[in-house]
């Protein structure tokens, strides 16, 4: 009988004598802790806390109030509060669908070659000497997060210094990305709550005393979460300090074109560092500026001293990527390549991008005016001084909790609001909420 044979095999393997007549296997029984009895090896796993940023949307979705407002995650909304797929993206998609010759094969580990070249040109400038000298290696990655992670893993393996200095505050996911990659995270002063602007002195001091060769994370533009960016002169000072101390810059560029409305202006800090001939890393994302959020499109570029080094670096990047996900997803990168390659589509894109940036700038203006009209105590000029998708309101966590409870405003506890989630219709409601929070809550 099959079961006898099974038990016989088991008995042989466990060196136990069998009595087939009575069909018993007295020496063989499921061990008290065998899976057979329902104990999981992961019973000790506790539930992780909600991601502080993505958790905001979860809470928002649960709220039945008709006046609720989601100012949490940084995804662009139209003035009607709807997600936006850019026209150029729809056109590019249609092109791809109609092309029956397209297949769904694996991309190379480094991703779509065209996409990589075009992305490098976008951030460094088409005439960048680094590109012309073949000193840049660019690999397609999963949006900004993926680019940061791959870059950090590479650094943890091949760079002599494991410390990365990140601004205080920064995007909540930054420390996790770098820590899991094997880097050790330190912070440098960045935001000044008193002025709601840049703590430039503190920044210079902290970077000046960073360990030799430390990696420095820089937000290329539209700092997340504060919206506070250095001026060009301040960038130049930062560059000089970083280069003189032999620190390694790692740019996170998630908002190119979205901050000022101009792709070239927003890339200036990065290009400044490339122009001095030094090395650097850049993580690029197309989530916001092309509205490709869920497609996970991004690129990691490493600017090296020479082409030979760039080639070797690229080969090592592949070794990081292959055991993580083998090769990147094709769809989003194909859309980007279609748009960047075609002069008309590219121009259309710059126009749509400027429209998004302009709408955000106008929301800033409207909110500032609304607060002034209500006579809300305090200086709210930072709302129009800060740049990009987010405003660091300066509200504390009690005030935020108050606004959520009484006004159904959803935002992160650090007081950050996504301007992209505002519309002309909802500005008054938010202004009321802020006014109430400031005058009534702590």
């Amino acid at each position: 009988m099959a079961s006898d044979r099974r038990i016989g095999v088991l008995a042989r393997h466990l060196g136990v004598e069998m009595d087939f007549e009575s069909h018993t296997a007295t020496a063989i029984s499921a061990s008290p802790t065998s899976g057979f009895q329902g104990n999981s090896v992961f019973s000790h796993v506790v539930r992780a806390p909600e991601d502080p940023i993505l958790g905001v949307t979860v809470a928002y979705n649960k709220d039945p109030s008709p006046v609720k407002l989601n100012l949490g995650v940084g995804a662009y909304r139209t003035d009607e509060g709807k997600p936006l797929v850019l026209n150029v993206v729809r056109k590019a998609e249609q092109q791809l669908v109609n092309d029956r010759s397209r297949v769904k094969e694996y991309l190379p580990i480094t991703g779509l070659a065209d996409f990589n070249k075009l992305s490098a040109k976008l951030i460094f400038g088409a005439d960048s000497p680094a590109i012309q000298e073949n000193r840049v290696t660019t690999v397609q990655c999963l949006s900004g997060t993926g680019s940061l992670r791959v870059g950090a893993e590479f650094l943890a393996r091949h760079y002599h210094q494991r410390t990365i200095c990140i601004p205080q505050p920064t995007w909540g996911n930054h420390p996790k990305v770098f820590t899991l990659a094997g880097l050790s995270v330190k912070t440098y002063r960045y935001y000044d709550p008193a002025t709601r602007g840049l703590n430039f002195q503190g920044l210079l001091e902290d970077l000046g005393s960073a360990p030799s060769g430390a990696i420095v994370l820089l937000h290329a533009c539209a700092h997340n979460p504060t919206g506070v960016d250095p001026t060009p002169q301040q960038w130049e000072n930062i560059r000089q300090l970083i280069r003189s101390k032999g620190l390694l810059p790692f740019f996170d560029s998630a908002y190119q074109g979205f901050a000022s409305g101009s792709l070239d202006s927003d890339a200036q800090p990065v290009r400044m560092f490339v122009a001095d001939g030094g090395e650097l890393l850049v993580a690029q994302s197309y989530a916001k500026n092309m509205g490709l959020y869920g497609e996970r499109v991004g690129a990691l570029s490493i600017v090296c001293r020479n082409a030979d080094v760039a080639g070797r670096v690229e080969s090592q990047l592949k070794l990081v990527i292959r055991p993580m996900y083998s090769n990147p997803p094709i769809h989003g990168a194909s859309i980007v390549a279609v748009i960047l390659k075609d002069r008309n589509l590219y121009n259309e894109w710059t126009i749509e991008l400027k429209a998004m940036a302009d709408r955000i700038i106008s929301m800033r203006r409207q909110l500032f005016d609304a607060l002034r009209a209500r006579g809300t105590p305090g200086d709210w000029s930072h709302i129009i001084k800060q740049i990009g998708m987010f405003t660091f309101t300066g509200l504390n966590s009690e005030q935020v909790a108050f606004m959520t409870k009484e006004y159904h405003i959803y935002m992160t506890y650090d007081g950050r609001i996504s301007m992209a989630g505002l519309s002309s219709k909802t500005v008054p409601h938010l202004a009321d909420a802020i006014h109430a929070a400031v005058t009534r809550a702590a």
């Binding site: 099959a2 088991l10 063989i28 899976g35 057979f36 999981s40 090896v41 992961f42 019973s43 796993v45 539930r47 995804a75 797929v85 993206v89 249609q94 669908v97 297949v103 991309l107 580990i109 999963l142 949006s143 997060t145 992670r149 996911n173 996790k176 899991l180 060009p232 960038w235 130049e236 000089q240 280069r243 032999g246 000022s260 101009s262 070239d264 200036q268 290009r271 400044m272 001939g277 030094g278 490709l292 869920g294 497609e295 996970r296 090296c304 001293r305 080094v309 070797r312 670096v313 080969s315 090592q316 592949k318 292959r322 055991p323 993580m324 083998s326 997803p329 094709i330 769809h331 989003g332």
Partner: protein, 424 residues
């Protein structure tokens, strides 16, 4: 804005005395990495100008004309999706709908585990991403554990668990003499592994050998796992592709589920839906109860967030569109069977051709093995000869991707194999 740009230019233009530091690179000590053994084969193939060249290297399906295939059900799904959906972020755990449908494939349409919400599952970056997420999870929550990996296995398995910093051990699997399963040695290794070991199993169509345990052998393996309290992690990259019937290909998993194991599964749509470059897959872990499943899922998400935040949406929509529509699903099942049948017929054809050529060796294993790959038994030297003299590209372990064989090239391939092996 123009002001800013102009100002920046002026600042840079002033020749930076404090320019970049010394002239050497941070990366001067970076060694060139070795080429990936599998993907490197295709690169070499593409570079070869010979009109006779044959690529039986990488495991991507080809039709009888040697062309890549986009399934009709996929084209239809894309037509339906195009222009309709926005591209908002998926949740960290991915598309709920896609994951639901994917679990049905692995656990069964009416699985009690799905009903009882006992499965922690997240959308993953195809099979690789699922394995990596699990390996990271294993490292974090069973930090003292190791992973047992069969010999041989897909080369990237070693890389994945190594990068997750989980120590690896191996267990016997392939029997070179019989070109089949070394069952006795496999069972010995499983028995000798410390209780509660984590063991990687290929659910069906073992890669690279094509050698699968029989149903009876799976039952014995499952029993031994029970006694030893081992954790079974299934890599299922070829469901539907092995026999042509997804239900049949999931048999090993169903046996383990019947026997009460709390398993983990990595599923991929790369081959069976032809979605290779879309990177669509699913990682699932069967838990004791719903509360545990919620906890485990939340922790898997914590690992995904610092890796890529949330998974890509496009491929997931294709899958959920197809599996969520009875007609499209039927079409898919038909198309999967066509692919599997073509492979099965190429196996028969290759074996027939070799036998007709009067090869002194036995080629029975070609039709006994299953799935995309055949472990031919050829040596690296013989493989090198195939490449140099006949422009036939395959990995040096003698693995042939059956999907690369067509009625047009099977004769040529058989002849070449015969030539390099006849004096073996």
């Amino acid at each position: 804005m123009a002001f800013t740009t102009a100002m920046a230019r002026r600042l840079i233009g002033r020749k930076s005395v404090i320019g970049a530091r010394s002239m050497s690179s941070w990366w001067r000590n970076v060694e060139p990495a070795p080429k990936d053994p599998i993907l490197g084969v295709t690169e070499a193939f593409l570079a070869d100008p010979s009109p006779d060249k044959v690529n039986v290297g990488v495991g991507a399906y080809r039709d009888d004309n040697g062309k890549p295939v986009v399934l009709e059900c996929v084209r239809e799904a894309e037509r339906r999706i195009a222009g309709k959906l926005n591209m908002e972020y998926l949740p960290m755990g991915g598309s709920v709908k896609m994951v639901e449908e994917t679990l049905k494939l692995a656990y069964g349409e009416n699985s009690e585990f799905i009903k009882d919400k006992r499965i922690a599952a997240v959308q993953s970056l195809s099979g690789t991403g699922a394995c990596r997420l699990f390996a990271d999870f294993q490292k974090r929550f069973s930090p003292d554990s190791q992973i047992y990996i069969p010999v041989p296995t897909w080369a990237n398995h070693h890389n994945i668990w190594r990068d997750a910093q989980v120590p690896q051990r191996t267990y016997h699997y392939y029997h070179p003499e019989s070109r089949g399963l070394n069952f006795a040695a496999l069972m010995d290794d499983i028995k000798n592994a410390p209780n509660g070991s984590f063991i990687l199993l290929h659910a069906c169509a073992h890669n690279p050998t094509g050698v699968d345990p029989s149903e009876e052998e799976w039952r014995e393996i499952s029993h031994l796992f029970k006694v030893k309290n081992h954790f079974a992690f299934f890599d299922m990259a070829y469901q539907g592709f092995a026999s042509g019937d997804p239900e049949r290909d999931a048999k090993s998993i169903r046996i383990f589920l019947e026997d009460g194991h709390h398993i983990g599964i990595a599923q991929s749509y790369a081959k069976n839906m032809g979605l290779y470059g879309q990177r669509v897959g699913c990682l699932s872990v069967l838990c004791e109860n719903e509360k545990q499943a919620v906890a485990v899922k939340s922790q898997l998400q914590q690992l995904a967030r610092p890796m890529y935040s949330n998974p890509p949406v496009h491929g997931a929509f294709i899958v959920s569109t197809i599996l969520g529509d009875p007609d499209l699903k039927k079409l898919w099942l038909k198309e999967v069977k066509v692919m599997a049948d073509r492979i099965i017929s190429m196996r028969a054809s290759l074996r027939e051709n070799l036998e007709k050529l009067g090869s002194p060796l036995s080629w029975k294993h070609i039709t006994k093995q299953i799935g995309m790959f055949c472990y031919s038994g050829m040596t690296p030297e013989q493989v090198d000869r195939l490449t140099k003299e006949y422009h036939i590209y395959m990995t040096r372990n003698g693995r042939i991707s059956m999907a690369g064989i067509t009625t047009g090239n099977v004769g040529y391939l058989a002849n070449a194999i015969h030539e390099v092996t006849k004096s073996a």
